[in-house]
């Protein structure tokens, strides 16, 4: 009896192990990310020293301090950028690490962070209504948005690029998409760009990038376009099958969004970004996240204070 029981337990354990192993390798949407930071060979994520006795004349910071935790807005569906594992509720990715790094400088430990998923369409509202203290999630700085929210950074210079299948050599850049099917999400800026008649591409608009990637893998479309950072994430997830062309044709400087009037917090985050770009933390973060796509590291743009 005893023997049979332990045999059953062992069988279940083996089953569970193989099941998780499968989940880690396949690249379909919603799966666990492969090559988790920390596994052998992959670059390690840095750890952040939590600052103590931070004083800052910022209403957002004071409110966060009083409530004992920091609310950070992020994306949850962009692998290697802002990704939430639905089974473990753990967040990972480049943007998430940048947000954690800033939180540590502000004196908040990882368990004092409350993550909030905010979709692109409601970012300005969430920030100006104070639903999040700051927002890190492929947020392009532009003048119209600056009227509604404040931006620290840029911390990453993204640009619209093309994601293609590795066996497809016909697309080498924006000038070779004539007659090709290019997918992007409804209303996005790269979509507006590629729609221009000079490119001559036929455009497929879907609700989510993962849908586009799905269609790319099943050869319904020939390329997916959006910011290279997002594409690198998908390339890292489907390494061996997809790659980024590597010739950005727009400029999308990513910033950290926060309350428009909170200049103290904006300056603080700007300094924090500058400090960690210099001490190498930034590069470590890149290597352990987006760097896994095989794209080479590029130095971050200089922070613009305004």
């Amino acid at each position: 009896m005893m023997l049979r029981k332990s045999a059953a337990v062992a069988a279940i354990a083996v089953l569970a192990l193989t099941a998780t192993a499968c989940g880690g390798k396949s690249g379909s949407a919603g799966d666990k990310q492969s090559a988790q930071p920390g596994s052998s060979g992959a670059p390690q994520l840095p750890t952040y020293a939590v600052a103590s006795n931070v004083t800052l004349d910022s209403p957002t910071f004071k409110a966060a301090k009083a409530r004992g935790k920091l609310i950070i807005g992020s994306k949850a569906d962009q692998p290697y950028l802002g990704f939430e594992d639905q089974s473990t509720k753990e967040r990972s990715g480049f943007d998430v690490e940048i947000a954690k790094m800033i939180a540590a400088d502000l004196g908040f430990k990882p368990d004092q962070i409350e993550w909030k998923t905010v979709d692109s369409g409601v970012r300005e509202t969430a920030i100006s209504k104070g639903q999040v203290d700051y927002y890190v999630g492929t947020y392009t700085i532009n003048d119209k948005r600056k009227k509604l929210v404040g931006f620290a950074g840029p911390y990453y210079k993204a640009g619209a690029d093309l994601l293609v299948r590795k066996d497809d050599n016909s697309i080498t850049g924006k000038d070779s998409v004539k007659g090709k099917k290019v997918c992007s999400i409804v209303g996005s800026t790269p979509l507006q760009e590629i729609k221009k008649p000079e490119y001559g591409a036929s455009v497929v608009e879907l609700a989510k990038y993962s849908d586009c990637v799905q269609q790319l893998l099943s050869k319904q479309v020939d390329a997916v376009t959006t910011d290279d950072a997002i594409l690198k994430g998908y390339a890292a997830k489907n390494s061996g099958k997809l790659h980024v062309v590597g010739k950005p044709f727009t400029e999308e400087p990513y910033g950290v969004g926060m309350n428009k009037d909170d200049k103290a917090l904006r300056d603080f985050i700007n300094s924090s970004l500058e400090k960690h770009e210099q001490d190498g933390t930034y590069k470590k973060i890149y290597d352990a996240t987006l760097g896994l796509s095989g794209s080479t590291y590029q130095a971050p743009p200089t922070v613009v204070r305004y």
């Binding site: 692109s120 300005e124 119209k144 409804v186 209303g187 996005s188 497929v204 608009e205």
Partner: protein
């Protein structure tokens, strides 16, 4: 106001897109719905079964799921490279057809049985009975629920925007990506829909009045 003036071309394209997909899928839904209602009341068991199966399956499936199937599965298996507009219209039309069918069937139910029996006794076939006697009398009752169904269809067409169909609601995504305040954007989108749905309800009110009969 600025949002509309600055991006009127995109707004107009979206509005026309909504009108187009609504019109095309309305025609699909109306034709298919009438046919299915005929199937459901017909004396032939396989046709009855087909009608019931269609209604059960499509009326109870979320529209987003139907769109997903029509956009990701249909092109892969049957027609690669089919236009998204057509796929969207078909999904929306097939879905709405099941509601039209049930509305028409309920209308047929209001026609006294004696009418159909009298038609049969003078030698009319089933299709003749349906076409000349039952459906004309059923139409009156069917019009108010049909207008609700077509208004719902207009609003459901917003889902098509997520599947590569240019329509009104997609304009909102464009504008919020551009960094406009979402409140005025939503007001304009709502107004756009209101124009379409008001036109539909006006059309049906007109029909109702013309078919009015003192009972």
């Amino acid at each position: 106001m600025n949002v509309l003036l600055d991006h009127f071309a995109e707004f107009r394209d979206g509005f026309i897109g909504t009108v187009e997909i609504t019109a095309v899928s309305s025609v699909i839904a109306l034709v298919l719905g009438l046919l299915l209602a005929g199937f459901r009341v017909s004396p032939v068991p396989p046709l009855r079964f087909f009608g019931t199966a269609w209604v059960t399956l499509l009326r109870n499936t979320p529209l987003t799921l139907l769109f997903l199937v029509s956009f990701f599965v249909v092109p892969e298996i049957f027609f690669p490279g089919m236009s998204p507009f057509l796929l969207g219209s078909l999904a929306l039309g097939f879905y709405t057809a099941s509601f039209v069918c049930e509305a028409v069937r309920s209308g047929i139910g209001t026609v006294p049985l004696g009418q159909a029996e009298a038609a049969r006794s003078i030698g009319m076939s089933f299709t003749q009975t349906l076409r000349l006697i039952v459906l004309p009398q059923a139409t009156r009752t069917v019009i108010p629920p049909l207008s609700s169904i077509f208004i719902a269809l207009t609003k459901n067409s917003a889902i098509a925007g997520a599947f590569s169909v240019t329509e009104l609601f997609g304009w909102q995504k464009l504008m919020s990506e551009d960094g406009y305040d979402i409140v005025p954007v939503f007001i304009w989108v709502a107004l756009g829909y209101l124009i379409v749905t008001f036109a539909i309800s006006g059309l049906f009110r007109l029909l109702e009045r013309r078919m009015e009969v003192a009972r």
